[in-house]
Point group: C2
Chain length 390, copies 2
Amino acid sequence: MISVREAKALICERCKPLIPRLIPLVEAGGFTLAEAHYAPIDQPPFDQSAMDGYAFAFSAWDGFSPLAVVGEVQAGTFYTGHPGPQEALRIFTGAALPSGMDTVVIQEKVSLSGDKINITDTQIKRGSNVRLRASQTRARDIALEAGCKLTPAAVAFLAGFGYDRVSVYPSPCIAIINTGKELTPPGQKLSPGTIFESNSYSLRAALQEWGVKPCAVEMVDDQETVIIEAIRRHLDKDIIILTGGVSVGDYDFVTSALESCGVTKVFHKVRQKPGKPLYFGYFQDTLVFGLPGNPASVLTCFYEYITEALSILTQRKCSQRMSLPLAADYIKKPGLTWFMKGQIQGDEVRILDDQESYKLNSFAQADCIIELDEEKEFFKKSDLVTIRKI
Amino acid sequence: MISVREAKALICERCKPLIPRLIPLVEAGGFTLAEAHYAPIDQPPFDQSAMDGYAFAFSAWDGFSPLAVVGEVQAGTFYTGHPGPQEALRIFTGAALPSGMDTVVIQEKVSLSGDKINITDTQIKRGSNVRLRASQTRARDIALEAGCKLTPAAVAFLAGFGYDRVSVYPSPCIAIINTGKELTPPGQKLSPGTIFESNSYSLRAALQEWGVKPCAVEMVDDQETVIIEAIRRHLDKDIIILTGGVSVGDYDFVTSALESCGVTKVFHKVRQKPGKPLYFGYFQDTLVFGLPGNPASVLTCFYEYITEALSILTQRKCSQRMSLPLAADYIKKPGLTWFMKGQIQGDEVRILDDQESYKLNSFAQADCIIELDEEKEFFKKSDLVTIRKI
């Protein structure tokens, strides 16, 4: 049996970023850029009025004479004439400054007399109210570096350069295989001795928080041949997650089925509670997680181990880990790391009741997982513990 | 012109939770429960072995005699026989205890001789290694209260009771209408005087963080009749978001178009930068936001105002607001609330460069919006400011 730290290190060792893929920008929110993206154009692409007003050539103006308004330029249009030195153009926010003009006086700071304007803005100077071409980004400069998270602003930033596809680390293709003769799908009638299957539900919802929809979800009986067939169907995926059947009972066929399928075991069993029988292996580039079937074990192992793998494959950040003081004393046995369902209350963290791995009521109320160190037995109120927000 | 605080209060006054809807549990991650959900069954539904071992009737056992193993019960099966007092059954984790049996000895704590076991567990007592029926939840008790967020654990918790559909506050149906003659869709060729449309991209990505896919996204010209037609098409939606055309220029038709459509104005213009021309109104239960068209204004108004509305409609939490000390001095003009693109650095927050509303480069790097109070002019390093994580 290995420690939690060793298990995580062994998983991270096998993980590498997925091969970048070009996806539509409109679907790219939340992904991480796999390559630096350059500006193909200046941004703004032309000198632009920042306000509604009148454009003119500052250096050709004597500073007091009225200017003749000889035309108009609306945003999205392009004025092709060549106005003279004492001439101005009506211009609107976002419109391109005509050639030769460099300054805009806002409409509130002119007085109109017929077709002429008198500029009453005493502060005006060359370039006033103009957004210069390339004042945000110059063509061929880097717009966003590789590794940048595509937030809504980053997505729009790239759209502004005309990108409609971007190179990102894609979502992994994940198969979920729930094993167990006792599992009945929710919505059906429960027959004696069976329980409702819930692990595919927690895994789907947890993957959804990573923007991942599993490629396949199967429920299979505790029969070795059936499990082998299910595993074989998914050896082309990036990740296989199995639940249940990973212990050493007479009906625990997952580890032997994985062996039959040629999956190389990296570790089986971790000094932790819940989730002691956790299995990790690989087949070529496919990562295989065998999670013990109890609902709380499944979710704990997902948050503590599978998210670490997802973080490397997709180059996204895991949920935030931090240290907080415990709200009350707690005693545990030494020898295993305990992952406890917790709730942040003000500046402290409280260990919830009902921590057994078959129960989900406390997990359903939890907003964090608290990690209690393997060797430590006595935890005092205010002792700092590591938590992972969920 | 009203203050930021007044604008938010006016929006919140018009918002109410959406009518609850029954949706498949498998899609319910992230939603908020609209009704309390009761346990329709005991959980666990039967007395269950917590380990692989041997089940027997503790009170019928004399404490030292070997027990005859007369059968086996695997998880998911049901033993219908009635074993006698000196008899035991092979049992596996999760299997139902046969009638009359109440205790399990784990397989590591027995010695086998033929078909009999000797129990070597000196600590064993009545109920050892058994998960009692209803020990997590009793049938008809409340499983989850109304208002509970459907985390992965909460989803699985409800699946465990057999729920396959749940009553939640649904996602709002949102139409995005981007106005502006100057807009060219990314991926196309930019003609003179035009820019790439990016606001639908930022809004789509920002809505995606709320699990919302807009029902409609349109790009329309700066023509009043065209804008009126677009608005009319979407007056049945929960929210209409317009971008651009909301100021007072000759080509700003959004407010007059909204009036023509019978939309009641609640406010137009807020003492803030960026986003001063922000408009908010309603038509029956449809909320209408008119956002100024500059990319940074659109996103700032989304985060500061539309998320407040989404939070009420869907009963989900907005992104976290908190106070952090400024990393450096800053001077602003009084009279407007300034929303600045910021970055959290350690325990401080830094105001980024390039804050102009037409620029997105700083927003693309930002992880928070910093709110600088309307009346305050001089901000010193270490002054506490309100930030909103994005």
